[in-house]
């Protein structure tokens, strides 16, 4: 976790220096969070918004409407995980669209550490994946329907196996219909040059703006 004692000016400076491979106290703090097992991103701004990293043993829900390009944010987390030799599973629930691996590789993902599976009903079809620890990070993209029992199962198994499960929804999340099983709920709204991140559930933050150009600059 990033402590509040970190001064905002050095933090900004740390970001800029971090992009140039220089580690400062603030950037090392983020690195420590990730070294502790958290799933950080290649984007320092996103890491700061996530209070360092996504916590293992929990579930996060992301509102990422189709065509907004916000899965690039998820990909920056996947890229960071594979770079740290963690095994990642991406469950593609969109039947009409196939993944295009060269684009993933070009964004810094180590394809040797990533497996894809096509399934709109992940909990039903991929139960063994959630019963045995093999993957460190599981991304469920566009699940057809996740009922309360499914969410409870995912949260319980994520905690038991100490893995993180990211659920990427094809719509913006609403605060009206809560989801008590997700530790963090974040909406990603497309802007002209990037995205605006808004917390629906989780640590209170001001909306964060992330520019497209910042995402993979550190990894490439």
């Amino acid at each position: 976790m990033v402590t509040s004692a970190v001064n905002p000016i050095p933090e900004k400076l740390a970001e800029i220096l971090g992009m140039r491979g220089v580690q400062t106290g603030a950037s090392m703090q983020l690195a420590d969070d990730q070294a502790a097992g958290g799933h950080g991103s290649t984007c320092p701004q996103l890491n700061r918004f996530l209070d360092g990293a996504l916590v293992p043993g929990s579930v996060s829900e992301w509102g990422m409407p189709a065509g907004h390009g916000a899965r690039e944010l998820a990909l920056s987390i996947v890229a960071q995980a594979t770079l740290r030799h963690q095994l990642v599973l991406w469950v593609n629930g969109n039947e009409s669209l196939d993944v295009y691996p060269p684009a993933w590789s070009a964004r810094g993902v180590d394809l040797g550490r990533l497996r894809f599976v096509q399934s709109g009903r992940p909990v039903e079809m991929l139960k063994p994946v959630f019963l045995e620890r093999l993957f460190d990070l599981i991304v469920i993209d566009c699940p057809k329907h996740l009922g309360a029992d499914d969410w409870a199962f995912l949260a319980r198994q994520a905690r038991t196996l100490d893995v993180h499960v990211m659920v990427l929804q094809d719509f913006l999340l609403s605060g009206r219909r809560g989801n008590i099983w997700a530790r963090v709920r974040i909406n990603c709204v497309a802007e002209m040059r990037g995205w605006q991140l808004k917390t629906v559930r989780g640590p209170a933050h001001e909306p964060c703006h992330i520019e497209r150009s910042w995402l993979f600059s550190a990894s490439t």
């Binding site: 065509g67 690039e72 009409s96 060269p102 894809f116 599976v117 093999l134 490439t220």
Partner: protein, 523 residues
Amino acid sequence: MFYLAIQTSSAFNPETLSPRFMSWGDGREGDATTWIIDLQPVLPYWMQQAGLVGQAGWQHVRSGHFHNFLRQLLPVGEGGDGVAFLDANPWRALLGLGVMRERGLCGFVSSHNALGQTLPLECSWQAWFDHAEQVGELWFAAGRERFNLQVFRRQMRQMHQAMERLGVRRPMDLGAMNAMAIRRRYGAALHDLWLLTTAAPKTETGLIAGMTTGMTTGMTTGMTTGLTTGLIEETESPLFPWQSWQQEAWIGVRRHLDAPLMEWESIEALLREDVDRLCALLSKQGGERVLSLEWRVVFLDLSSLSIPVRFRHPHDLPAESPHHRTALLQACYAYRDAVPAATSDAVDLGVYEKAIGSWELVVTEKIHWSPVIRDLFGACVESSSGDWRRHLQEKLQHMENRLPVPLQAYEVNSSWVPGEGYQTGISARSYADSESEINVHGRSGREISKGRPMFLYSRPRPWSQPPNRSSVWEFCERVMEKWWSAGGKAIQRDYYRLQDDQQRSMWVFKDGAGKWYVHGMYN
């Protein structure tokens, strides 16, 4: 398809490579038996192993990666007398093997290189008709429709005489002959053999990618239907008379139930016991890995159902004793697919006809697993216990065996065309691992791919909406398709990133004819 024809005088068990193989001839040409091995059932497994070996740096030739790996598994070369030929159909594999023997060649040749592509056609007519005679006998034994062995032999003689009169010495010299002309003159059977002879093997990349995708996606369906009968994929007729080698010992267990069962929860406990009994039978033989089981279920109305239980990779059944989670999960998926769910309504109404009265569990496909891989010099290489990549791969294979759908790994290749820039992964190579990246107008493959979307439609969708002035446009790239594989037409595509009124970004292109298509989404 990968069919391997092999002949060696040294001890060789074809079951170490695949559960599907047949012997050819009766040792008429010496003591060595010729085996034809269908590698299809274990292709994903061997390809993953090939990927592992490749990454481990045991061999450095990228092209023909799988074939080089296969060479290490075969007891050929090393100064011995063994010969092996790999082709997409068993007939051409036999012909290629025959030519190698005629010329006194030793070792392993694959039809996916230049030498192997022409070798089968260079066989003599004598060898061709010798093999045709054996095929005819097998067709006759298998009861091929409208097939008369005497007529077939007469047609063969006629064709042979015609070739001698024409001075055509080898099938290669008759390459221009239309298959229908053979049919008109010498009948359907020789027409089929001629089709097999002239069938051009696919390119290596396409073949491997296609086979892997086909295998992994259609495992539970395709494998149990057409593929197991030894058909040639491109044609729908059973051209080659495949006759699998029959196991000498029947490995199976039977159970008669005291009370009929309908629900999986009740069946599971008893099935677990039976799998355990099966393990006891398997462990007597030692080193067996199971690829498929057949669960023959007999219902109370005496109707029966055969439920195939398949594993994506060779599965060590005894290692999971006594819980047998993997086998039971696959049995559960197969049972639920094959038998409609037993509803409480059926029980309430006393409809028990489809309750199970007895069953039989039989091992149908297995390989004799040998954890030994030969290095380039023929010495045995034991896998290092500390090799994390192998350890990880084993865990992934284990997980894949438990799932109803495959876990896909991809690797990038050197093609710049969007639909061809990757293939189902052997070693899951990324751009970071690429030894020779493509370079188009000074841009590397990584740079090109970075501007492309993460998700593509499997086929570009026609886009009827004309470009709107209010939309945000950005020119991305101009892609020229490979003119040599596009029928001589240079197809040009201009790609744009388009953002519509709802802020959705699409990857659209305009082809040479001015038509618009949506190819991907920036999700």
